[in-house]
């Protein structure tokens, strides 16, 4: 028997290797060298992530060199862009975790180590054409996030979040794995290109087993992106987890799970066609339910949780359109994802700074009352993020929505687009309510604490980057749009 040595392109693997090494280093450092020295650990984490980002941006996804380990690891344009998204999300989550008062007395090495492990898992999930690797990646980041969700052990809500996320998450993983098994049974392969070829050549493989497998995978992935009707866990988990973790959870797993979604559905091709209407309904339900419920929230953190579900709905629109208008939909998804990192992370960063100011760490809507009078800069930044989340010009959120809706209309989904834009009107109501509270109400309650947190500078850096990027992606989007379009290339 010949042993085939797999081709390995180490350069392309570097963006994943770096966070893993960084995680190990951080854990060891905390254990042996600098017990309790947070700032060093934060800096190591940031340097690792920045290096990975630099390598990713410097790399050029070349056709023919993309696949390592026989397609288990794949560095194509799509991967490259999603790496940028995931790494930015990770960098932001580190910056804002360093500024969150609640996390001050928790072990730093484990926290940042887990963030780095989760990052590598998300990256692996986005960078493969192999079903098993999709699962491995998903489990790597999910297990890290289960722990992180309950990181504040003393808080009952944290424990609830962690347990809920773990139980439901394992259940969803089971669905996903079972779906993969069925797809493997029907087609005889776990490699997406192989699967696509067999589906094409052998119509018998498109039978009930394959469709059922695909259906189970929709359930599993739908859970991870928090799409209706599998989003029930999201509000509780997002609210119970530490805010910095919530911010990370609302972006990173979405990017990774949607990447798998796109890859699976594009390789299923015509055989997955019967799922178009399923995804259509899921998209409509996700957007509409989340937006309607978000209106009634009085806790900003919970409102942002529902908002992130709603945004999953808009991303589902891109997914639905991806079969009939592949390039526009894929690049639209990528652009949307990148904009979402900046605007959502920015919003969470402001939220952390606000809860830092208060003894009870509250994130109620009333806690923001009159923010514009005593923290005008913070209020202005939050207003920019809210405007962008609503999808209004001149911010990145508008260009992203414009792009995704273009894809849907180009694909012929007129009603889906109409429902989506009407949803964004509903969303404006609750996003702008924050602006109302910050600018049009008078401050109330006890005076805000004036003692700045030692991590203040990290938060300022995060906010500056987020505001600048949100505006830049809205006013001069051309170069990043070109990058997204170049990256909308799969598997070669």
């Amino acid at each position: 028997m010949d042993i085939v040595h797999p081709t390995i392109h180490w350069g392309y693997l570097l963006p994943v290797i770096l966070p893993v090494c960084g995680a190990v280093l951080v854990l060891m450092w905390d254990a042996f060298l600098a017990k309790g020295e947070r700032s060093v650990i934060v800096i190591i984490t940031l340097v690792t992530l920045a290096a990975a980002l630099g390598v990713t941006l410097g790399a050029r996804a070349l056709p023919g060199l993309a696949a390592s380990f026989g397609g288990m690891y794949l560095f194509d344009g799509f991967t490259q862009f999603l790496y940028v998204v995931i790494l930015f999300a990770s960098i932001f989550s580190v910056l804002i975790a360093a500024a969150q008062r609640e996390l001050d007395d928790t072990p730093a090495g484990e926290y940042f180590g887990l963030i780095l492990f989760a990052t590598s898992g998300m990256m692996l999930m986005a960078a493969t054409r192999n079903l098993l690797m999709i699962f491995v990646g998903l489990e790597v980041f999910s297990l890290s996030l289960y722990v992180l969700a309950g990181y504040l052990r003393a808080r009952p809500e944290g424990n609830e979040a962690s347990l809920k996320y773990f139980l439901l998450g394992s259940f969803a993983s089971g669905f996903l794995l079972y779906g993969m098994a069925l797809v493997y049974g029907a087609t005889g392969s776990v490699d997406l290109i192989e699967i696509a070829t067999r589906l094409h050549e052998n119509p018998a493989s498109r039978g009930a087993a394959f469709l059922m497998g695909l259906g189970f995978m929709v359930v599993g992935l739908g859970f991870k992106v928090a799409a209706a009707p599998f989003y029930m866990w999201t509000p509780d988990v997002y609210e119970g987890a530490p805010t910095a973790v919530t911010a990370f959870m609302s972006v990173g797993p979405k990017a990774a799970a949607f990447a798998a979604f796109f890859r699976v559905f594009l390789s299923a091709g015509d055989a997955g066609g019967s799922f178009d209407s399923v995804l259509w309904v899921m998209a409509v339900l996700t957007m509409s339910l989340a937006n309607l419920v978000a209106i009634w929230q009085s806790c900003v953190k919970r409102m942002l949780a529902y908002s992130s579900i709603a945004h999953a709905g808009y991303l589902m629109v891109a997914l639905v359109a991806s079969r009939s208008s592949a390039e526009l939909a894929t690049s639209g998804f990528l652009y949307y994802m990148l904009v979402y990192v900046f605007m959502n992370m920015g919003a969470f960063c402001v939220l952390i700074l606000i809860s830092n100011m208060r003894e009870d760490g509250g994130t109620k809507l009333d806690n923001l009352a009159g923010l514009a009078s005593f923290r005008p800069g913070l209020a202005a930044a939050m207003a920019v993020f809210m405007v962008s989340l609503s999808g209004l010009p001149p911010t990145g959120g508008f260009v992203a929505k414009f792009h995704v809706f273009s894809a849907a209309l180009n694909g012929g989904y007129v009603w889906l687009t109409v429902i989506a834009v009407l949803n964004s009107v509903v969303a404006v109501y609750y996003y702008l309510r924050l602006v109302v509270v910050m600018y049009m109400r008078e401050p109330q309650g006890e005076a805000a604490s004036s003692v700045p947190h030692p991590g203040w500078s990290y938060a300022v850096a995060a906010l500056t980057l987020a505001v600048a990027s949100t505006l830049q992606l809205g006013i001069f989007p051309s170069s990043v749009l070109d990058f997204a379009h170049r990256s909308a290339v799969f598997f070669n």
Partner: protein
């Protein structure tokens, strides 16, 4: 004059950004105010230079500037001005300094943010009138909502938050549908660009036109507002601070009528004709309904707000008359309404700042106490009614002629609206200005001060100028209005691409229905 439009367009925004570095607070606000006023005055001077350089005999776009923006989608930064937008641009650059000057005394809190919002708002409004690219147009159209929302919501009256949110949601609900229509048009036409002028040259399939027209029309109808989409207007006008109401009535409402004129009608002429009867009916209902509602108001500001619904009905009537008189009358009427309703809101602002009430019953006999103020009030009210010799007459009379040319009944019903406007305005004047001074608090009221003179003078001067010598304005409007008319009267559809069978059927059905002139 290369770059003149870009300078006019972005000067207010840059000024607003520079205000970020200003200091505010007690005693420091005068710098902020003066700076904002200077910026808006320089903008006005630049726009006056553009007005003087404008060639009246040329129908097309002038001073066009173009630069690639998002080439992948065929989106460019393209701006220009023609006879239709020129006057609206002038209206904007005149009303903004007036509004800023008025606010000197009126706005005391968060002054920096206030003047920033006003200046950003000016850029947004100018952008809507200048834009020759759908994407650019939409960015300004939506972008200007945010400063207006802040102006109503932060510096408005008692129910300001309700009014601001209602204003925002109504406008947004309409405009997102327009966004869908714009993208749809982009893909359906196959032009591959968002350039508005390029789309004018490419007729849209008759089967698609009603849908796209409806989407654009709803968005603009909410802005105008056409009955029954007007309910946001009284709330927003009444709650907004005076300067906000001036801008809202003076310029923002015109963006709706301008949208009909610039985009909805020439892009989808077939559908526009099909919908014409419906829209004219709604316009007539608006004229009468607005006037009747104005008659029964007890709040002067609300009265002026409802009069806007009535006056804007005339503009819609003129546009959908599909003739030259109607079209050029509409443009003049847009400007006139901007001037007279803007001036009326200023007048209301004057008495509100003195008495902190706007109830008609609280006043009476003001003529004896404040003779100068009353004179200004009377002139403005007469201009709003449409007295010959003042500006209002020129627009409404031309529109009525145009409507008469189309259908005598339309003109007859609309003329009732003119009569009604005389009723509610004169009645209000009588109750506020004439008679005995019935409320003691009114006895000691001071007459207009120097700043208020300065605010009102340009408005009154314009009323007389347009009323007595409107020729230069008509000269500039007419060539563009003629070109516009030939665009909206296109009847023969040229379809170059092989259309889908279903669409072809619609085209055939349409061709049989309409006699080709």
């Amino acid at each position: 004059m290369p770059g003149i439009i870009t300078s006019i367009l972005f000067l207010p925004m840059i000024g607003g950004l520079l205000l970020l570095f200003a200091r505010e607070g007690e005693g420091k606000d005068s710098g902020v105010r003066a700076f904002a006023l200077v910026v808006s005055l320089v903008t006005f001077v630049l726009s006056a230079v553009m007005y003087l350089g404008f060639r009246p005999d040329y129908a097309g776009m002038q001073f066009v500037e173009e630069a690639a923006w998002i080439p992948r989608f065929g989106i460019s930064y393209k701006v220009g001005v023609d006879g239709i937008s020129l006057l609206l641009v002038m209206l904007t650059t005149i009303l903004t300094p007036v509004a800023i000057l008025f606010s000197f005394e009126d706005v005391r809190k968060k002054t920096r943010l206030y003047y920033m919002s006003l200046l950003f708002l000016e850029t947004g409004m100018l952008g809507v009138f200048f834009a020759l690219d759908f994407f650019l147009f939409y960015v300004f159209w939506e972008g200007m909502l945010i400063p207006m929302y802040l102006i109503i919501g932060v510096w408005g009256g008692g129910r300001r938050i309700y009014a601001a949110v209602k204003f925002f949601l109504y406008t947004m609900a309409g405009s997102v549908l327009m966004l869908v229509a714009i993208i749809w048009l982009y893909f359906a036409s196959g032009v591959g660009t968002f350039d508005i002028l390029a789309h004018f040259r490419e007729p849209v399939d008759a089967g698609l036109q009603p849908w796209l027209f409806a989407a654009f029309a709803i968005s603009f109808a909410i802005k105008v507002p056409i009955f029954p989409f007007h309910t946001w207007l009284p709330d927003a006008h009444v709650e907004a601070p005076t300067a906000g109401s001036v801008i809202l009535a003076g310029v923002l409402l015109k963006m709706g009528t301008y949208g009909f004129m610039r985009l909805a009608m020439p892009l989808f002429p077939t559908a526009a004709r099909e919908f014409a009867f419906l829209i004219i009916c709604l316009a007539l209902v608006g004229i009468i309904y607005g006037a009747l509602m104005a008659m029964v108001q007890t709040d002067v500001k609300k009265l002026v707000a409802y009069s806007s619904v009535s006056h804007l009905g005339f503009v819609m009537l003129g546009l959908f008359s599909f003739n030259l008189l109607g079209a050029s009358g509409s443009v003049i009427q847009m400007v006139n309404h901007g001037i007279s309703s803007g001036a009326l809101f200023l007048i209301v602002g004057f008495i509100y700042s003195r008495r902190h009430t706007r109830q008609i019953e609280e006043f009476g006999g003001l003529l004896r106490v404040m003779p100068v103020f009353s004179t200004f009030f009377i002139i403005t009210a007469l201009s709003s009614i449409g007295l010959p010799g003042l500006n209002g007459f020129v627009g409404e009379f031309t529109i009525l002629l145009g409507a008469f040319e189309r259908n005598a009944w339309f003109a007859a019903i609309a003329a009732t609206g003119v009569v009604l406007s005389a009723v509610y305005m004169l009645w209000m004047l009588q109750r506020v200005l004439f008679g005995e001074v019935s409320v003691r608090a009114n006895l000691g009221l001071a007459d207009m001060n120097r700043r208020e003179w300065l605010v009102m003078l340009p408005m009154v001067a314009l009323m007389f100028w347009i009323g007595l010598y409107p020729k230069p304005l008509f000269e500039r409007i007419e060539p563009s209005a003629k070109a516009w008319l030939s665009q909206v009267n296109r009847r023969v559809l040229r379809v170059e691409k092989a259309p889908a069978p279903e669409i072809q059927k619609n085209v055939l059905a349409y061709a049989q229905r309409v006699e080709v002139k």
